[in-house]
């Protein structure tokens, strides 16, 4: 009895010690030296794994940062400029400050502007509806309102407004990761510069149909009349396929185009309400 116990204890300890020695040498032999800066960079990243940087998670982005020679093409939209400065401090690289962006919805087909002409009772997902038919309204380019963008957002920054049935972006929460841009089957969401004092001007319509047809389906549609194009002194507006587009790199936020739009398709965000005098002045000037 005693003998059995002694033998088994002895044998087990021997196997343990032997395996320990083997493991020690194996670990030495196959050791992978990892750059300690990867962990350091990962620690300063937000860690939400949203994929907004273009890499499949924060760890991969950190690896890419450490391997990169400069940080020109690497940007974490969630951490923003602050985050990138911290990354650059760890790596000892220069980083250029980038203007922050924000998602805007380029459709203004609210219930009032764009009446529903039929009723959809199938699966409530934008991509399925888009694949099946044109949607509940007459406009085959506008927002379907089944909230694929809301489900795609990891930051709770998009909600559907119950009155208009259009998605609304919460500018404070939006980090411009671009998940909603990919989720929208109609490509209505665009990442634009946040602008000075968070002010922006953009055309809130994506319908390239002829003006008369677009207007029939939605009273707030861009009809491609070109009035804004003539009003713009900075060459920031392009008209293509019956649709105006404001280049956010050239736009100086003068807002002359806003009052010119006959359908109200050009939206201004976060401006103080323009006084009546100002609007009249611009009209006289043109």
């Amino acid at each position: 009895m005693m003998y059995t116990v002694i033998v088994s204890v002895f044998l087990l300890s021997l196997t343990g010690i032997l395996s320990g020695v083997i493991l020690y040498f194996v670990a030495k032999k196959f050791q992978i030296s990892e750059d300690p800066r990867i962990d350091a960079v990962e620690a300063v990243l937000p860690g939400v794994n949203c994929g907004g940087c273009g890499y499949p998670g924060c760890r991969k982005f950190a690896e890419a940062c450490v391997l990169a020679k400069n940080l020109d093409n690497l940007f974490c939209p969630v951490g923003g400029n602050k985050g990138m400065i911290e990354v650059s401090k760890i790596l000892g690289l220069d980083v250029a400050e980038k203007e922050p962006k924000v998602a805007v919805v380029r459709c203004n087909g609210s219930l009032k502007n764009r009446p529903r002409i039929n009723e959809y009772d199938g699966e409530a997902q934008c991509k399925i509806v888009h694949n099946l038919y044109t949607g509940e309204t007459g406009c085959s380019y506008g927002c379907l309102g089944f909230a694929d963008c809301v489900r795609a957002c990891k930051f709770d920054a998009i909600t559907i407004n119950k009155e208009t049935l259009l998605p609304v972006v919460d500018e404070k929460k939006c980090v411009a990761c671009g998940a909603c841009v990919k989720a929208c089957p109609r490509h209505l969401i665009e990442l634009r510069y946040q602008g000075k004092d968070n002010q922006r001007v953009f055309v809130s319509c994506s319908n390239p149909e002829k003006g008369s047809i677009a207007r029939k389906n939605c009273s707030a549609a861009c009809i491609g009349c070109g009035k804004c194009f003539k009003a713009c002194a900075f060459d920031a507006i392009k008209i293509g396929e019956n649709l105006a587009y404001i280049d956010f790199k050239k736009c100086t936020l003068c807002r002359k185009c806003v009052s010119q739009c006959p359908t109200g398709a050009i939206h201004e965000v976060n401006f103080k309400l323009a006084s009546d005098n100002q609007v009249q002045e611009t009209k006289v000037n043109v």
Binding site: I117, N118, D121, G122, E123, K127, I128, N131, L132, Y133, T134, G135, S140, E209
Partner: protein, 451 residues
């Protein structure tokens, strides 16, 4: 004789469903519908490249005149279906609700193109040779009238090294409500027989079989009687089962051969054509009349006059509904095609095209979708899938954007018959998800080929 036929009723072996057949208009003879004031003729009515318009706004056209030329091999001509003046060439809404290029013609009088035989004479002798027939059907814009609208001349010219042995004629009409093919078989039997003869000559096959489901006994009797004069043509009665009209299922049901994955019926030595196409072939070859009209079933429980109409292509669907007694108050959905595979319309202001086999007006209570419940893993969708797929799995994979796995699970093999969604006790939108996955994967495949 009928008893004998019932003893050996065949069908495809796997899956399938038995929807109630609702053949409301089975006893209504085909009515000729006078052409409407304006027709909207889309240039893309067939599978393949859209035709290119060759008329201009303001041009005067005659019935049967080519208004859009085929763009390449995988395309067919489009003809004017009324005589009059071209009002405009613009993008008009089609069945899917999206806008496609179309020619709008204002109807003035009834002027036919020279050379079209409008007499009622029945012509049985086939003068043209096989290659001439194939050329002629492309010129006359023939496409499969069963619904897929595959250009006929493409089917009649098999790829090199493959030879058709048997011609299968699809008179199944397995979709509920639809009776257009049924009526055509009863009323135009001799013409269909000659059309089959022409197709046989073009394909150089010795044997043709007509498959008809057993719920159309009068059509089976009628065509069997006619077939006695043609010793190479036989009629086969088939079990009533959906989706028997799908090409692959029909081949297996009629001659017991299985079309390989990703293959075509020609891979197992047969070509499948619809009875409607056979009739159109007769009109084209014997009467020199291009494809400008087709039989459309207009049906619905609350519709005043469910019937079958001979309609000019391009006729607005609203006009058809008006003739059938107007839109009932309780209308929930207007469907183009059959209730299983058809498409609910955005607006009735869309035209009848080559593939429109029926217009259904369904009541709100009947067409409303039930609320979706969680999957209970009963596997009914699996046992009813005629292709042996696992629809519940495909839906989950597409929902998680796992498209590669879905492709491995043969999602592209799905024929979109909708049997899975029909039998699902939880009313899950299986077909919608599978369609989404299919269109996504098809796009991916296209991009892979790009340099």
């Amino acid at each position: 004789m009928i008893m004998k036929m019932f003893n050996r009723l065949s069908s495809f072996p796997k899956g399938g469903v038995h929807p109630q057949d609702f053949k409301l208009s089975a006893n209504r003879p085909i009515e000729f519908l006078p052409p409407p004031k304006t027709v909207t003729i889309p240039v893309s009515q067939h599978f393949g490249a859209p035709a290119i318009p060759i008329v201009k706004t303001g041009d005067k056209v005659k019935i049967g005149q080519v208004i859009a030329k085929a763009d390449g091999f995988m395309s067919t001509n489009i003809h004017a279906t009324v005589s009059g003046i071209v009002l405009r060439i613009e993008k008009c809404m089609d069945v899917s609700g999206y806008k496609r290029l179309a020619v709008v013609i204002d109807s003035q009088g009834e002027e036919w193109l020279e050379g079209v035989d409008l007499s009622r004479n029945f012509k049985a002798d086939i003068v043209l040779t096989a290659s001439e027939i194939i050329k002629k059907v492309q010129q006359d814009g023939l496409a499969g009238l069963g619904g897929a609208t595959f250009p006929l001349h493409v089917k009649l010219s098999p790829p090199k090294g493959k030879q058709a042995e048997i011609l299968l004629i699809n008179g199944v009409e397995c979709e509920p409500y639809l009776t257009a093919d049924h009526r055509l078989m009863l009323e135009k039997g001799p013409e269909i027989m000659v059309g089959i003869k022409i197709l046989m000559k073009a394909l150089d096959v010795r044997k043709a079989l007509i498959g008809i489901e057993a719920n159309k006994i009068d059509a089976i009797e009628h065509l069997s009687k006619l077939a006695k004069d043609f010793h190479n043509i036989d009629v086969i009665a088939l079990q009533v089962k959906y989706p028997q009209g799908a090409e692959k299922q029909l081949v297996e049901a009629m001659i017991g051969r299985q079309v390989p994955i990703g293959g075509l019926p020609i891979d197992v030595g047969c070509v499948v054509q619809n009875v409607g196409t056979a009739f159109a072939v007769y009109e084209s070859i014997q009467k020199n009349k291009p494809l400008i009209e087709r039989v459309v079933t207009v049906a619905g429980e609350s519709l005043k006059r469910s019937s079958n109409f001979l309609v000019r292509l391009g006729t607005p669907i609203s006009y058809l509904i008006e003739i059938a007694g107007g839109l009932p108050e309780d209308t929930g959905k207007i469907i183009s095609g059959g209730p299983m595979m058809g498409k609910a319309l955005n607006t009735p202001e869309v035209p009848v095209v080559k593939g429109t086999s029926g217009i259904l007006v369904l009541s709100r209570s009947f067409s409303k979708r039930d609320p979706v419940l969680p999957c209970i893993r009963c596997a009914r969708c699996v046992s009813h899938c005629p292709l042996g797929l696992e629809p519940y799995l495909l839906m989950n994979l597409v929902g998680k954007a796992m498209y590669e796995e879905a492709e491995q699970e043969m999602i592209m093999n799905c024929c979109e018959c909708g049997s899975c969604a029909y039998v699902c006790p939880a009313k899950r939108p299986l077909l919608d998800s599978i369609r989404l996955g299919k269109s996504f994967i098809a796009q991916q495949r296209k991009e892979r080929v790009k340099p």
